[in-house]
Structures are given as C-alpha cells and as structure tokens.
C-alpha cells in the first residue's frame, strides 16, 4: 500500500499557495456585500416605516371621510328633511303689534302703544285647528288691558266646508275679519264706523260654516253663521231714553235669548277682483243704560227689537294699485213696551280707499274717504285720510298719516289728527 502522506501534504501546500490571493479577494467581496445588505436593510426599514405612516394616514382619511355614495345618500336625506311632516300637532304663533304717536287738533300729542295681538294656532293634522287672537293694550292710566278678539275651533270637513265654533270675527264685510290688523290696514286708524260700537259688527259668538268653491271659471267664498247676536245700549237724553249704540262684539251670553243669523257671499270673477254681499238678521234687546242721573230703571221686560244688517264690499288689486270700498248699515227697530221704549235707529258707514306702491321703491301712498252716519249728531263723522307708508318689509310698515275729520263742532269726531305708526306683522 502506497503511503499517500507525502503527496497529500504537497498537494495541500500547492492548493494553499494557489488560494491565498483568492481568499483576500473573497473577503473584500464579502465586506461589500455585507454593506450592500445592510444598506438594503436600512432602505427596507425606511420603506416599511413610510408604508406604516402612509397606512396610518389612510386609516385616518378613511375614518374622517365618506364615500361618494354615502355623501349622495346624506345629501338626499338633508334635502328631504322636513320636520313638520311627522308630528300630528303643530303649534304656531302669528299676530301683529303697533306703536306710534298721535296728535289731535284739540288734544295733546301722545306716544302710543297700540295693540299687541298674538294669534295662536294649534293644529291637528289637516283636520282641526284651534285659533285664538288675544289683544293686549294700555289704557290712558297706563293699566294693561287684555281682551280676546276671537277663539275658535275649526273643523275642516272637506275641501269646501269648514265648521267654526266659538267667538269669531264677524263675517259681515271685509274690514273686521280681514283688514283690521295694523300691519294690513294701510292707515293707522280704522274707518269711522268700523271700530268697536260702530255700524259694522266686530265679532260674534256662535257657529259658522265657511269655505270657498269654484263657479265655472270664477271663484267664490261664503260664510253662514248663527250666534248670540248684539246687545243694545240706551241713554237718557232730552228727557227720554234713546238708543245709544249697538254692542256687536261677540257676547259670551245671550241674555235676551234672541239669536242672530246671517252670512256673506263673495265672487271673484277675475284675478284680483272680489265683490261680496253680507246680511244678518235677528233680534236685539236693550241690556244696558248709560245714565248719569243714577235713576236708571230696571231693564227686565225690555222688548226685543228687530236687528238687520246689510253690507257690500269690493276690492280690486292690479299690480301696485289696490282699490277697495265697503258699505255697512245696521238697523234697529223701535220698541213700544219696556222702560227704554223708543224709536229705532240706523247706523251706516262706508269708505273708499286707494293705495299705490311706487314702482321700484318701498314707498306706498294711500288715500281714504269715509262717511259714518248715526242717530246721534255727535257721532256722525266725515273723514279724509291720506298717508305715506314705508315698507321695511312686507310685514313691517312705517306709516305717517293725516286725518281731516268733519263732525259736530266741539265733538271728538271733529278733531283732525296726525299719526305716526310702526306696525309689525309676525
């Protein structure tokens, strides 16, 4: 057996000798490679950190943003949102108020708080509405006066009929039921005879049916009512009792047991034009006496007198011009029995009014003529009124007006008056 030791050692020595340069070269490559790997590791770490930051940002964006579909759904929901659709009962307040200054030819000028008249609406669906208007005012002594203009519960029976019960504004004519609020009335005062204790009834307590319906191409509206009716006031004058006035203000009790019934029917043959006719009839009885002597007699057994009202009203509105007029006559019959037996009397009044909103301005001019005729000379009055209004908004109106009144010399009805008024409808 050959001994391989010598050959092996020689070969090993040769191999080592040959590999020495290669080993040095491999070390350099290894170092470079190592550096490269380390650099790649750092870069990878940087990329990972960047990715992590990016991922965090993406998550934040996801949390704080919505998709287009979500945004569109939200937009639709917002556009469709209507809170009034859901509840069965709505509560709403409207109304009006006015303040101002008045000066008369035989009275000192005074700042005035006119009326604060909130109107409350409580509505159950489109079926029933409770309406009430209160009136707050201040008298000459600064005391607060409170009144109830009307309180009704309205049942909307169908599209053409509403049944109204309670105390309601008189359907006779237009002024009392639609035009008396200060933000609607073009002048600061009511036409003579259309206020309290005038020729036109102001309100009634009872039952009313009202609504509107078409007649061919025309429209119409109506009101039919039955109520407690007015009461009469007598006064001692010239040695006898005479009728002083009619209190047609929605009495809460029918003290004479005599009902009054009536209504109004109006047609609108064309846009802007309305013509109405009103009637009321029944009985009325003297229930009060204005007596300074202190010897007023007992009023038991007073005779009920005939009571009849007739009215006509019209309005025509064309663009900025509005023309309106109204006539009302209340007639009370005589009585042959009772402590206040006397002749009857007639209270009649009418007015015509024109108003014009100057184009492209907020100024409105108005002029009105009225004639109130009663059985008493001291109450008779003829009146010219002119005014200039400034519309701060459709429902906020500043007014300045002058009334030239012609009545019995020395009476309040003969006093000319200046007004400045600010009215707010809400």
């Amino acid at each position: 057996m050959k001994h391989p030791g010598k050959f092996t050692r020689r070969a090993l020595a040769v191999a080592i000798a040959l590999s020495l340069p290669m080993t040095a070269s491999a070390d350099a490559g290894y170092d470079a490679l190592k550096k490269q790997v380390e650099q790649l590791q750092r870069q990878l770490q940087q990329v990972q950190e960047a990715l992590k930051r990016q991922e965090t940002k993406v998550n934040e964006v996801k949390e704080n943003s919505v998709t287009r579909a979500e945004a569109k759904a939200l937009e639709s929901e917002v556009n469709a949102a209507s809170e009034w659709k859901d509840p069965n009962t709505l509560v709403h307040m409207a109304g009006y108020a006015d303040v101002g200054y008045a000066s008369g030819s035989n009275q000192n000028g005074s700042f005035k708080v006119g009326t604060f008249a909130p109107i409350f609406h409580f509505q159950y669906k489109d079926l029933v509405m409770l309406e009430s208007e209160l009136e707050f005012g201040i008298d000459e002594n600064g005391e607060t006066e409170v009144g109830m203009e009307y309180l009704t519960i309205d049942w909307f029976v169908n599209d053409y009929v509403a049944l109204v019960a309670g105390r309601f504004l008189s359907p006779v004519g237009q002024f009392r039921q639609n035009l008396h609020p200060s933000w609607i009335n073009k002048l600061p005062s009511a036409p003579p005879g259309f206020g309290h204790d005038g020729a036109a009834p102001t309100s009634e307590t009872g039952l009313q049916m009202r609504g509107g319906f078409p007649i061919g191409n025309m429209r119409s509206n109506y009101a039919v009512f039955v109520g407690n009716g007015p009461e009469l006031i007598a006064e001692w004058e010239d040695g006898e009792f005479g009728l002083d006035g009619i209190e047609a203000e929605g009495k809460g009790t029918d003290r004479d047991g005599e009902k009054v019934w009536g209504g109004r029917f109006a047609i609108l043959p064309m846009n802007g034009l309305e013509m109405g006719v009103s009637v009321a009839t029944g009985k009325a009885t003297v229930t009060g006496i204005e007596d300074d002597t202190g010897a007023a007699p007992s009023l038991t057994g007073e005779q009920a007198r005939d009571y009849d009202v007739f009215g006509f009203d019209t309005v025509w509105q064309h663009k900025s011009l509005t023309l309106r007029g109204e006539y009302v006559k209340s007639k009370v019959g005589g009585a042959i029995t009772g402590a206040t037996a006397s002749d009857g009397g007639e209270w009649q009044t009418w007015y015509a009014q024109a108003s014009y909103l100057l184009p492209a301005t907020k100024f409105e001019g108005v002029i009105r003529y009225a004639d109130f005729d009663t059985p008493h000379d001291s109450q008779d009055q003829k009146q010219w009124a002119v005014g200039l209004n400034y519309l701060f908004a459709s429902n906020i109106i500043g007014k300045i007006a002058f009334e030239s009144n012609d009545g019995q010399a020395g009476a309040a009805s003969d006093s000319d008056r200046w007004f400045v008024q600010m009215a707010y409808g809400f």
């Binding site: 945004a71 809170e83 609406h121 309406e131 009929v161 049944l163 609607i184 009202r210 019934w261 909103l357």
Partner: protein, 203 residues
C-alpha cells in the same frame, strides 16, 4: 225672553243649511285628497294674498309655520282645501335649499344654447303666475321683462344664477323663490325658458 217666529225660522234654516250641507261631505271626508301642486299654488299665492295685504316672501317662514299659516289663510281668504294644499306645495318648494350639488359641476354653467325643452311650457307652468302672460309682472315689485333696462338686459349667466338661487328685485316686497318654487327645473329647463323670455319679451 220669547223668541220670535222669524228668529226661529231663521235659526232653523241656518242649522238646516249647516248640517244639511255637511251630510254628503262628511261621508267622503275619509277619502285621500289630491296632493298639492306647486304651479297651481304659485297662482293661488299670487292671485289671493295681495287682495288684503302685502305679499310675504315665500321663504319667510319654515315649512311647519307655513302649514299652519296656510290653513289660517284658508279660513280668511275662503280658499278650498285643494288650493290650500297647492299653496303649501309652492311654499315648501320655495323653502327647499337650491345648493349646487358637490357632484354637479355643470349646475350653473351656461352655453347660451337653447335646450330641447319647450321654454314656453316652462314659463306657463312655473313663471306666469307672478310674471304674467305679457311679461310685465302681475305682482307689486315683479320686474318688467319688456323694459330695455329690465332683467333681460343682464347676461344669461347672471339670470340663470338668479333663477337657480332665487332673487329679490330692488324695491320688491318679495323675492322670487329659487327656480320659481319648482325644484324640478333642470338647467336645460332654465336655459329654455330664458331663451323663450329673450325671444318673447326681449328688445
């Protein structure tokens, strides 16, 4: 006190009228009424409110406030139930915000070209109640389209913007609601009606 025969007859006749007329309608009270139509409502609004008072801005109150107010005015003005629903539809539509959709980049872009729709039809449906058949306006403050210094003296872009967002003419007591209260109007509809206005009333 003793009630006269005349009063008794009158009272009886009134009650008979009240309840006699109610009988046939109570039976139909449960029927679902027709919904309101904004176009008819705009006409009811323009034809009735001004007879008694200055016309209020159609965007003055919230929808729920308009709802009660409309029923209050039904009683005052003798409106029918359908007219009441119509005017509510108009007022609700007037209150709808006409914000430009964030996805609708073309909302107010105008090309000056006439759309495919009939501008006359759009005018008669949406605009005529207040602006009138002669373009001179039927309400106080409504502008005169036939005037050389009227709205048509403005550019299409301005007018489209006014129609889209609503506009109150100087001195006018009320504002035109956005899209005239007709929220269904498209940009094409507005272009069409504007072209009709220029052709019909432009100087």
């Amino acid at each position: 006190m003793k009630t006269s025969l005349f009063t008794k007859v009158g009272l009886f006749a009134t009650i008979l009228t009240l309840f006699g007329l109610l009988l046939p309608v109570v039976s139909s009270a449960g029927e679902k009424p027709a919904v309101g139509d904004y176009s008819r409502g705009a006409k009811v609004w323009s034809n009735n409110c001004g007879r008694c008072h200055n016309i209020r801005d159609a965007r003055e109150l919230r929808d729920d406030q308009w709802f009660s107010t409309a029923f209050h005015m039904r009683m005052r003005a003798g409106l029918t139930g359908q007219e009441t629903r119509d005017v509510i539809a108009f007022l609700v539509a007037s209150n709808k915000p006409q914000r430009k959709s964030i996805f609708d980049k073309q909302a107010v872009k105008t090309s000056g070209t006439v759309g495919k729709l009939d501008g006359r039809a759009v005018y008669n449906q949406t605009c005529i109640a207040c602006h009138g058949g002669d373009g001179k306006g039927t309400l106080p403050g409504a502008p005169n389209f036939t005037s050389s210094k009227g709205p048509l003296s403005k550019s299409d872009a301005v007018l489209i913007k006014h129609i889209t967002e609503g506009f109150q003419s100087p001195g006018s007591p009320m504002a035109m609601p956005a899209k005239g209260g007709n929220t269904d109007l498209t940009v094409e509809d507005m272009r069409a009606v504007l072209a009709y206005l220029r052709k019909q009333f432009g100087k």
